[in-house]
Amino acid sequence: MVWTQIHEPHRNEEKQVKGIYNDYFGDFGGRYVAEILRTPLDELERAWRESMDSDAYRSELQDLLVSYAGRPTPLLFAQNATRSCGGAQIFIKLEGLANTGAHKINNALGQALLAKRMGKGRIIAETGAGQHGVATAAACAKLGLKCRVYMGEIDIRRQRPNVFWMELFGAEVVPVVSGSKTLKDAINEALRDWAGSSTSTHYLIGSALGPSPYPDMVREFQSVIGREVEEEMRRLGLEVEALIACVGGGSNAIGFFAPFLGREKPRLVGVEAGGRGSGTGEHAARMGGFGTPGIVHGYKSLFLLDDDGQVGKTHSISAGLDYPGIGPQLASLGREGRIEFTRASDDESLAAVRFFASHEGLIFALESAHAGAAALEMAPEMPENRAIIVHMSGRGDKDLFILAKQLAGKGWRDFLLQEGREDEA
């Protein structure tokens, strides 16, 4: 395995990514926040820029990413899957093997370390699927920071195991009961907290969205994924036709794609939540004509809005993909055509979980399984001497309750009932 250089900023060398400090990406991005949040954002941007130029900071982060997060994560040739599909060779970037089970740890460590440098002893975060919350809680435990995680009440129910882990790491998990009680409302609550607490608190946003500098900062922290992939492609001499990642807010996708954004190849494919249909509230696909330009959560991008400009309802089987907005850089690159977008339905994603489990012994997180589903559709259409790389951004342990309910049926239900009865007795 080749050790990739972590955090060597790529500055102004590629045409579409103008550098690491963008603010706007085409029409999207910006810093649309109430004045009270302006000072902390300006301070954060200064501190982040200083850190990116600091050898001490970068080497401390590098050490953590290697010895604590478990980087680099492997690139697996999925031989059985390839044989079964016919067509392109399927490779899988096993980001789910990172400590805490998903790519989220890369950004959580980067920002938590930055917060510490800024002298902020308290971290707040939002979480949807809970993976960002778990990664943040873990990073805070490791670095000795106080941690509070806002999580929608519905997401808490969907991703209960992650709540348990967060609390075990010492974080306070605050249920959010306003609005749709999911990720978007957790972000609202975190922004409200930060408006009053920013002097002592860092808001650790988990996706490549929000007011600038977050989209740039989160992409840079996640771009380690793409750099490792690039290194492996070179080492193995792979002719890669496409990189495929799921897109909720989009941090795993933008990090995975980062080194390739300024080039024409390979194809970059973002897979959104197709949910259970294309009607309003049945999915969470912002691209492909569904999204409308809007300003929500401090940035301008494409959002799912209703016919009066209110943020619309969404649905996905995966709690990490049902956010109504998309990171501004992804929206812009989608418009320009550099990134292609497609959708995978709830059922297709469940089928992909089952497929990769039985063929490769891997449990994809439901989010990442959307990318897996797209790969299974794309591979047979391509020649055998080409490769596609699927991003398994997280592993599916957290989805045990949803998966077992869907895939194991009555036996699982009986087990839960029996456990409940024994607990009471």
């Binding site: 004045e35 609005g179 408006a195």
Partner: protein
């Protein structure tokens, strides 16, 4: 002496018909300026009281079109200066200039859009001026001198000073910190004729007394929502009018 107040209400809260009564009570109670919030699904600057009001207003069927109809009904009973408060997405969705033009046609005096600061404003400030309205910049105590100076250089007619950090609703203690902040604004404004409106957590007469000499008007918002909630949504006119008498 009676105090100048900017009284805040959420359109379609507690419901469409009652929100006209809320406005009437504020006007009859002596309000100087009426601030009407057009509800948004994700009001990130607002605390629990106004969030609840916005959620209920949306459930009551609020639409931007109906918000303008409400403005027009209020215009029919009074010529009180009306300010519309909303979030940037509401303007963007309607088209920024189309929204501002609509406001101007309804005789709206100004717009307060907290997430469109002057340097990320989508044209709000320029277009408001073009249509004869005032876009009201919001400043917070954490603002640095240079940024405050940049805002004042645009010579806004009104300036909204948020009296503390955080979100709307939670009670604010008026003391050296926020009075100092208001003095800092006045000093920086110098001879410019800028009317300072101050709000966030103002719900009692004593606070307004303390602010009176430092501001053009005090803003009261969440307190009215709480008044309406306490009255179970019934008899809103009498309840709001009574609260006005307490404050003014």
């Amino acid at each position: 002496m009676k105090h100048r107040l900017m009284t805040h209400m959420v359109a379609y809260y507690p419901d469409g018909a009652s929100s006209v009564k809320v406005a009437a009570a504020m006007i009859d109670g002596g309000s100087t300026y009426l601030e009407i919030q057009f509800p948004f699904s994700d009001p990130t600057s607002d605390g629990p009281a106004i969030q609840t009001a916005c959620t209920q207003a949306l459930e009551n069927g609020f639409k931007v079109r109906l918000g303008f109809e409400l403005v027009s009904s209020i215009r029919a009973i009074s010529d009180i200066p009306i300010f519309i408060m909303c979030y940037g997405n509401t303007l963007l969705y309607s088209g920024v200039e189309a929204f501002i033009d609509r406001c101007a046609q309804q005789g709206v005096q100004g717009l307060i859009v907290p997430d469109l600061p002057f340097d990320y404003d989508e044209g709000l400030f320029r277009l408001s001026e073009k249509h004869g309205m005032s876009a009201v910049p919001v400043v917070a105590p954490t603002i640095g001198p240079q940024r405050l100076e940049s805002i004042l250089r645009t010579e806004p007619r009104f300036l909204y000073a948020a009296l503390r950090k955080g979100i709307t609703g939670k009670i604010t203690e008026i003391g050296d910190d926020n009075i100092g902040f208001l003095r800092r604004i006045s000093t920086a404004a110098g001879k410019k004729e800028i009317r300072i409106l101050a709000g966030f957590g103002i719900s009692h007469r004593e606070q307004i007394d303390l602010l009176a000499t430092h501001v053009h008007a005090s803003i009261v918002g969440s307190a009215f929502v709480r008044t309406i909630i306490e009255n179970g949504g019934k008899g809103v006119y009498a309840a709001v009018k009574h609260k006005m008498e307490e404050l003014i």
